[in-house]
Amino acid sequence: MDILTWLLVPIVNLDLLALIAVGTFAGIYVGAIPGLSVTMAVSILISFTFSWDVYPALALMIGIYMGGVYGGSRTAILLNIPGAPSAIATALDGYPMAQKGLAGEAIGIVTVVSFIGGFIGIFALAAFAPTISDFAIRFQPRDYMMLGMLGILLVGSLSGGSLVKGIFAGAFGIAIGAVGMDPLTFTERFTFDIPAMRQGVSFIAVMIGMFGISEGLMQLHTIKATAVKQKIGRIIPSWASVRRHLPLGAQTSAIGTVIGALPGTGGDIAALMAYDHARRVTKNPEVPFGKGAIQGLVAPETANNAAVGGAFIPMLTLGIPGDAVTAIMIGALFIHGLNPGPLLMTSQPDMFWFIVSALGIANCFMLIFGLTGIRFFVKVVEMPRTVLLPVILLLSIVGAYAVNNSLSDVYWMLGFGVFGYFLRLYGYPLAPVILGVIMSRLLDDNWRRAIISDREELDRLFMGILSSPLSLALFTAVVLIFVSKTPLWGLIFRKKG
């Protein structure tokens, strides 16, 4: 019965409830504005809540986190600029929907499925935290490497028309991710002896440039056209349509939870993997993927919100952060005199259940705030583009600058914006570039760790993969997906037939 009292703490204390509400509300905007990240907001809150008690401080941070992960979808749908990396996949089908005048419907469904995904993640945290963290911690470098390979294979789903151009874009992204001083050996890579390039290319600057600036430049072609009139129809999706996507949502939530719980991966990778999963399992979508398929919204948005609960799993059971935000929260707990580690759950179970409960409440507030005010947001798309476009440009510049307070990130953003504009014009897909940047270090670092661990011998590495059930399963998945996505599939199929 203790558990129930701990769970009730944030519910019966009105001030905690209010803080979670404020946090969630603010988080939605933090998430929606590119350049403002949850990581940044939570860092600022450490100083801001320094003299507070630990419960109110955590309540505010958890609200921001939940709201922020969801908020990224707003700008992705309305403007094709993902507010956060975890919303990249959402833009792929969300923006086409807005272009058809269905922005309200898209935001509605995203809000509801985010809520569902969020709850599945929280449920996994409450019910299976020790089991999942035991599983997650056992991932070896070779397993992370294969996870990175699985990620890279998404290029097949994101390429649109031309697979060759998609592969080119994905490889280019991996190369961008390698720019700068290699964090493992301190070797300079692709720096061309320019000192400013040692710090690498800010991933957020690439994202804002590729999506925000290049989209803005494209829209200049049709600047005089009137904006798409948005249909103000049904915003809250019908139960029937939610139920229809529930099986997919449950699967992608599971993907999100596990990827969120892995210490080396977070919501961005979870959302992309879920998107790919949706493309694989959805046989006949009413609308094709990339043109505004509902499944293309359901999968990433359930996964990235489920990843929130997932990220808390290693943090609360082992004191190991599941992602960047939980890393800062661990720091916050230290500052508040707590010692997050394997003993936290036994010595202070109240903290565990408080966080579970606060996450649940934040999830509910996210649903409420998400569904109200949609009509107002949708109006943004109907603003005259001649005013909207300069604002998007300004926000993009300020956002790129704010990531690291660095002017060179603004130049990167502009450079990738112009480059992305040409890529669009000549039929290259942009999403694989971002995918490559996200997967670059996961793949590269873990490949090197894996092959070093096996003394630079490929056959040893291969035997290692065969001897572990987890590695074997991942390896099988990599091979199957690779074969199914390349002409090899047709070759084998024809031979058999």
Partner: protein, 171 residues
């Protein structure tokens, strides 16, 4: 796959550029550590840039097969004037941000862009710009304490002065 789509103006030049760029990156990746070891920091960069070279060549081959498009012009369909102006304006913004500071640069940028794109009176554009700058300043500078370059406006001092007045703890 895309063989039937015609070649757009500049597409051939762009794809040649991509292939040559990939070759240069491959050369640069080779320079990182050569063929030192499977685990060398240059291994993955070499593999990825090699893939870029291969794909770049394939794309180039595809482009060469395509018939040239009729009815599209480089200066109208690929790089129309508004696109060039916008790129230059963002560049100018980045150059002016440090010396001039966030507030004046953003205000001028928005006024010029809105006036250029939307037309109408300069005063309308300036008023809109003022409103937007105030909003962005409020969110980024006041709420999230992102320190934008102050430049010629001593906004840090003014803010501290206002705060002191408000809190009444002048000394």
């Amino acid at each position: 796959m895309q063989g039937k789509q015609p070649r757009r103006p500049g597409e051939l030049v762009f794809n040649i550029g991509m292939t040559l760029g990939s070759l240069y990156l491959l050369y640069s990746a080779w320079g990182i550590s050569g063929f030192e070891a499977l685990s060398a920091p240059g291994t993955v960069p070499m593999v990825t840039t090699a893939i870029m070279v291969i794909c770049g060549a394939l794309i180039l081959w595809e482009t060469l097969q395509k018939p040239k498009v009729t009815g599209e012009r480089l200066d109208r369909d690929i790089l129309p004037l508004p696109v060039i102006v916008t790129i230059l304006m963002v560049l100018a913004y980045a150059l002016a941000l440090k010396p001039l500071g966030f507030l004046p640069t953003s205000f001028v940028f928005l006024t010029v862009m809105i006036r250029y794109l939307a037309g109408g009176s300069v005063i309308r554009a300036a008023l809109l710009a003022l409103l937007i700058v105030a909003l962005v300043y409020g969110i980024f500078r006041l709420v999230f304490t992102v320190l934008m370059p102050p430049g010629i406006v001593p906004e840090g001092e003014i803010l501290a002065f206002v705060r002191n007045l408000l809190s009444g703890k002048g000394n």
